[in-house]
Amino acid sequence: MNRRSFVKAISAGTLGTAIFARGAENVSIREKHPVAPSDQVRLGIIGAGSRGQELMRYFLRVPGVRITGLCDVYEPRFAAARKITGEETPIYRDHRRLLEARDLDAIVAATPLSLHAEHIVSSLQSGRHVYGEKSLGLTLEHCNKIVAAVRQSGKHFQVGHQYRYAPWFHEVIQRVGKGEIGRVTHIYGYWHRNGSWRRSVPDPKFERLINWRLYKEYSGGLTAELGSHQIDFANWVFGAIPESVTGSGGIDTYQDGRETNDNVQIIFRYPGGRTFTFSSLTDNAKVGAEAWIYGKDGSVEVTMADAIFYYEPKRASSPVSEVTERGVPTGATYSTKGEMPYRGPGSRVKVPEGTEGNPNLSACKSFIESLRNDARPFADERVGWGSGVSVYLANKAIEEGRRIMFADHLKR
């Protein structure tokens, strides 16, 4: 795949495996409200906190984008956000007032998880396209409401799973899909950090507002904030959502009044005897954030910046021609000695020249292109629903200490 076809495919949302979200098959015919390619796209921001500000920077790197409204409930964020826009962008303390503004084409919703449904649904109902941060919604009901609102509105929705826009992720999906590492049975996802996740609060009255990630009323904790990306990746690789989930977690390091776990370990079972195991720690960052795909014939390590293939020793039945076709260096095929882990080099994924980029920027750019071309975003509401409901049920499994069957909760 060359650069042009990659960019074209990602804009049209035609890459990747089958869409899996049960109950989301019937997509209504949308009203056509494209934004003309030459037009300026005017964005309103609901939630101008750290992630919202980061998204603003990325969107402002896309030609023709202007931020015309800022909405937040924490006063200092207006000055910080205006510094990013470089102008006296109108501010709103109530998202309903922002949505009354006329000069808005789309909304970027980067609020605490518990508010996603309210902000995304009302934005869609106001006739705006929406870029909504992950995870999709705090509860199953929230996730379903968002999907329904997207359908009813006929507007475009893109969820903040930016790694869906990383070319090396696409390359991995394609090659794994073609069987390069054999049948994939397991994915292990890690998101390990060494830090309390607690943010500095200038006044105790702002504790829950600023540290919302630590409170269950607003947040799905590590499973949602970090795990949702990895869960989405597993859904993408397996082309399905899980059938069941079990998990554990606890507040074992930072007993500072928080309610969400400071470590979680979750096992998702997928159709066909496949498993995704997710781990998130906050007191050791050795492995960082990465996922491993394990297949009968090899493994792939996927990170935020690259992906590396490793191959199990060739068996007699392996067709030799494959090696030549792939051009795989010998060093990528490993041989473990005495059960010791392989620590040698692998075969780094090469992506089309000029597409390496930044997945965040690519995701923002792709959203704007979706609006201009009236094309369904690749990471649409169905993608968001797949990871969103998985996050919700995983946390339920941890909290209730039992195995949760997805079918018991996703009946429609």
Binding site: E54, Y58, L60, I84, S200, A305, G354
Partner: protein, 360 residues
């Protein structure tokens, strides 16, 4: 008397951290004073970033509060590095370098920094120039330890250098390279900019006394230690770094130092340092070290580079136009140090007074 202060998670009796050319001096009396003025204690943390080591000293009532401030500070450094690094393919700078043969729209923050860099290019008659990326590569200072370029390599790099070969279009916030192959390198301003960003974040988080540094490049002081009028910072002698050239007090100010000892290689008895004179395409010779004080680290960082290239006489004219600046130069005069000061707030007892100095 308790002379202990906190040094990360360890207690040390005294801090005498060397920050390359400039050294933070925190005498025992100061540290004990910090404890006497409880609840504030001095905390320290260092992390690698931008190819160097960023260090943060700050006063906080307890370790938890200090940890939160450190996290906020280092998150901000990571944010800035993610945008400005030319070592990361995913950075905004890398995207501009890869694509600006056609206009590239960037965000207001990056655009404003480029504009600011180009102001210094204009004001310094090109002595400070962020288009030195190809020259840095030709001389082997990008991911390398130095290399003497061939005539052909040098000619090519010169053709791809020059701030006037880049067009910044304010209306669209776009960057356009007027000749192919230009490469922006913010090494002469980016670390200072990162310090200003961290200072803003720390102030917003309520910090009132902190000292932050980016390796040997720049130091920025927020306020002053409790009961003091400033943070004592030592500028060392480039020929004998154990010797103090000058000790100054910084308060809501920055100090940046450029030295020929940071990255260099030697060939046939000559030393080639990593600071380029963009106008000749060659490493600067004859200047050993420049230190510049300014109200913001972005400015002091750019000015110390510009001053290193321009030398004391021409720098004086540039610095005279910028309020709040001061500088000290160490140049090589036939193997002897020549020290020149411009409005330098020199303290008593420093080497600068042992060596004959000139004032501009």
């Amino acid at each position: 008397m308790n002379e202990h202060i906190f040094f990360g998670t360890y207690q040390l009796s005294r801090i005498t951290r060397l920050i390359a050319a400039a050294v933070l001096c925190i005498p025992a009396s100061l540290s004990s004073l910090a404890l006497a003025a409880a609840p504030n204690q001095l905390f320290y943390e260092s992390r690698p970033a931008m190819g160097t080591s960023f260090e943060v000293y700050l006063y906080a009532p307890n370790r938890e509060r200090a940890s939160q401030l450190f996290e906020a500070a280092f998150d901000e450094i990571e944010r800035v590095e993610a945008a400005l690094s030319n070592y990361r393919f995913s950075s905004e700078l890398s995207r501009i370098n890869a694509s600006a043969n056609a206009p590239v729209v960037t965000d207001p923050e990056v655009f404003a920094l480029l504009e600011r860099a180009f102001v210094y290019s204009r004001e310094s008659d090109g002595a400070f120039d962020v288009t030195v990326g190809q020259l840095m590569k030709a001389w082997g200072f990008f991911r390398g330890a130095g290399h003497y370029p061939s005539g052909e390599e040098l000619d090519r790099a010169r053709d791809q250098t020059g701030w006037q070969r880049v067009r910044l279009e304010k209306r669209t916030r776009s960057v356009l390279f007027l000749v192919p192959g230009i490469e922006l390198d913010l090494g002469g301003i980016g670390k200072g900019y990162a310090l200003d960003c961290v200072a803003r974040v720390l102030r917003e988080a309520g910090a009132t006394a902190a000292l932050i540094s980016s390796g040997s490049s720049s130091i920025y002081a927020i306020g002053a230690p409790p009961g003091k009028t400033g943070w004592p910072v030592r500028v060392s002698d480039p020929l004998d770094r154990t010797r103090t050239l000058s000790t100054i007090l910084l308060k809501d100010q920055s100090l940046s130092t450029s030295g020929n000892y940071e990255k260099f290689f030697q060939l046939n008895g000559r030393t080639y340092c990593h600071i380029m004179d963009p106008r000749t395409g060659r490493p600067v010779e004859g200047t050993l070290q420049t230190s510049v004080i300014a109200s913001e680290a972005t400015d002091s960082d750019a000015l110390s580079t510009a001053a290193f290239v321009m030398g004391p006489e021409r720098s004086a004219r540039l610095l005279d136009n910028i309020a709040g600046t001061a500088a000290i130069f160490v140049t090589d005069r036939n193997g002897m140090e020549r020290i020149v000061q411009i409005r330098w707030p020199n303290q008593a007892g420093s080497a600068a007074q042992m060596i004959k100095t000139e004032s501009k």
